[in-house]
């Protein structure tokens, strides 16, 4: 079945499981169409690998419309590839040229162990949320929604922070494999809303403690996380986290 006319050379990371030693494998994909997404190009490659009787390249993906945060891939040294503000599933082959060689790796971080090939385990993020990334309100406790007017600017700011998809690109981009942007996005979202105030300082302290426990690195304010974030989460979230964290520690010691 013919698709298009581009030829792409791929260097793909293969690794059987977390314990195995990995290596790069070369593949050529012919008949690539510029309208294909990057993941559809891998689908086509995988079809041909299975047809040859070999094992396809494992990669995480689900919604394929840039919102679920499942897809990852470190493409030519950049999480989610060369475009800004998009996930790998939204990256299309028209962003590459016929004959290009593309290197594809998994997220690399101690806290994200490889499951297989390009698939990593990001459950550390769930544990950080479980440590405090919520407002404690049981179902049925709420008052009428409009009893709580919220300044539009604060609501919009909180929404911007809340648009994080938890993909882990920030960790992959960071030279220290720090999860600060991810944690800061949740901390800031709730810190900007009146509903988030009662637990504001305990929240930041527990989330940061869990982040450290998971083995993520420290933040040195390089900003690669924000530059590579597919949802363009701003570094000001980290500033907010730092301010709240200092206050939390001060309150603890006071």
């Amino acid at each position: 079945m013919s698709h298009g006319s581009m030829k792409i050379n791929l260097k793909v990371w293969r690794q059987k499981n977390a314990q195995a030693k990995g290596n790069f494998e070369d593949h050529i994909v012919n008949e690539v169409s510029p309208d294909m997404s990057f993941l559809e190009m891998i689908d086509v490659l995988n079809e041909s690998i299975v047809n040859k009787g070999d094992e396809p390249i494992a990669f995480d993906h689900d919604c394929r419309e840039g919102i679920c945060g499942t897809c990852s891939l470190y493409i030519n040294g950049r999480p989610h590839g060369p475009l800004e503000g998009v996930t790998t599933c939204q990256l299309h082959m028209r962003s590459f040229n016929d004959g290009d060689t593309i290197t594809v790796e998994p997220w690399r971080a101690k806290a994200f162990p490889v499951v297989r090939d390009l698939v990593v385990d990001r459950s550390a993020f769930d544990r950080i949320i479980a440590a405090g990334g919520y407002i404690s309100v049981n179902t049925g406790n709420a008052q009428d929604a409009n009893c709580l007017p919220i300044n539009k600017e604060d609501a919009d700011d909180a929404f911007m922070s809340a648009s994080c998809i938890g993909c882990g690109a920030c960790v992959a981009a960071c030279k220290n494999a720090s999860a600060m942007l991810f944690v800061a996005a949740k901390v800031s979202q709730l810190a900007k809303l009146p509903q988030g105030q009662p637990e504001r300082y305990t929240r930041v302290a527990s989330m940061v403690a869990q982040m450290d426990k998971e083995g993520f690195g420290a933040c040195t304010n390089t900003g690669a996380c924000s530059a590579e974030c597919p949802k363009e989460i701003s570094l000001t979230n980290i500033a907010q986290l730092n301010r709240d964290y200092m206050r939390a520690k001060f309150l603890e010691n006071a």
Partner: protein, 659 residues
Amino acid sequence: MSKLESKIPEGPIETKWSKYKSSVPLVNPSNKRNLEILIVGSGLAGASAAASLAELGYKVKVFCFQDSPRRAHSIAAQGGINAAKNYQNDGDSTYRLFYDTIKGGDYRAREGNVHRLAEVSSSIIDQCVAQGVPFAREYGGLLSNRSFGGTQVQRTFYAAGQTGQQLLLGAYSAMERQVGMGTVQMFARHEMLDLVTIDGKARGIIAKNLVTGELERYFGHAVLLCSGGYGNVFYLSTNAMGANVTAIWRAHKQGAVMGNPCFTQIHPTCIPVSGDHQSKLTLMSESLRNDGRIWVPIKQGDDRSPNDIPEEERDYYLERRYPAFGNLVPRDVASRAAKERCDAGFGVGPSKMAVYLDFKFNMMRYGRVEASKQGLPNATDEEILKLGKEVIKEKYGNLFDMYKQITGDNPYEASMRIYPAVHYTMGGLWVDYDLMTTVPGLYCLGEANFSDHGANRLGASALMQGLADGYYVIPYTIGAYLSKEIATKAIDTNHPAFVESEQRVQKVLDTLLNIKGTKTVESFHKRLGKIMWDKCGMARNEKGLKEAIVEIQALRKEYWSDLRIPGVQHEFNPELDRAFRVADFLELGELMCIDALNRHESCGGHFREESQTEEGEALRDDENFAYVSVWDYKGESQWELFKEELKFENIKIAQRSYK
């Protein structure tokens, strides 16, 4: 199964639910701590149920196939969530939301369930705001609303084009809070492959650990299936790649009957197919129809760029055919109208299977408001358009960006091209008022059940139903069953029923791996999808459906004799997992065609070509088909049909009109 009991409480519709809540048996807190509940799926229904039930004190285990519960496909819902708050003072009420939903569903949903949904809708918004869900707000700090199809009031709450994401993260956070407290245990990358029943009651599941390939056994006093819809039976749909029917299909084969399996929603505004490499389709939210106008050129085969086609040479066919609702007709109506124009030769774009969705008119309208607000009475048209684009960007920025990424075209400058695509399945496991299936102790919530949307779901009602079921319905209704289970001790998973169930799954896995044929899962899935789309899609007829049944049976035979799966079971093997899912789709597809063939009328998304009005609108046959088709599995290709008669006591049943 002998007979269907919907268990709708007696009494006037307005008091059924409140009376039920006041009289349903309760389980005392110390007993709740000994009762275990398994929840399959972590989307809006699953996560909200998990959080709410754990808050009540039950011991909960949640399973999802994704790497994190936050990735369930509810996250991709764009436009909004309905609630009868009447914040806009435009005439909304519980009754009107109830009425719109029944009418929108083309009179094929159950009144009792739908009224309850409308009743609890307001509390959902309250709960979400309390959790920190950042809904869109007006400058006064209060919540903003927008319009959706099939209604004439503004009752849709939203967070830009990411409403599902924000609601899911709210429910996910509430659930993770319980994980932190140890009341919910989360099993990500686990897929339910069978239901375990003991003495006719649901008592557990067999799940596959997708990382190790191990089969694992879990006991529960009750099991909740919240596993979403099965639109992926069509291969191409707006569903996530992993969305599947397996959990409910395995339950179906263990005795849970299916309701209205053929009722599929084809969403009118999706990005058209671009080639045969296509793996999925992307929705452009219905909210865009609020501010957009759908059109095709007046001339057939007009190849000019949309910007070069003047106003008088455009046919805004929805506004022409349905002046009362215009671009806001329900999804089924809008989809068929698009197909009709394309089939008649007025389609646009390279494939000619697309229509235009234009925003310029409303950009100018918003621009004029902005110019007035900013004190610019002499703004030029160009300046007004620029201001209008900013407003549109704030409302729908992420959708416009998504469109640009996928198509390479800029929708701020020219009309979008759109075409209908499979989006949602109204059908699913049959449930009673308690959301219990025909297997005692087995419940089904959200899109996976059949209950609230009849033959067509209105926009922004899926999120409402998922959260209604999880936050406000199941915490009450599950008590009716569990109050009788307090003496049941946890059952050891070495019980013969668990062993037998695991062996059943193991046999399927072994068979799949031992076929060692020549064709990939993907190739079979594509072929199944084509049969379904061509013969059980937007238009269906007797001849096509009969052919489809024969073709699916043949394809299934080929599947079990010529499938190739690489690798082994005990490793991370997505091909094997997918093969299990497609095997179930190959059975479901046949039932959908059988159901569509049986329903010799058109209603909502189910359009039988033999049953239409002179104007080409869906023609119902209330005398013969005012029932839910309920299918009981009797063995391969064999089902027995039961009928749940639908009684309309509060709404006068009428031919639906949006003209």
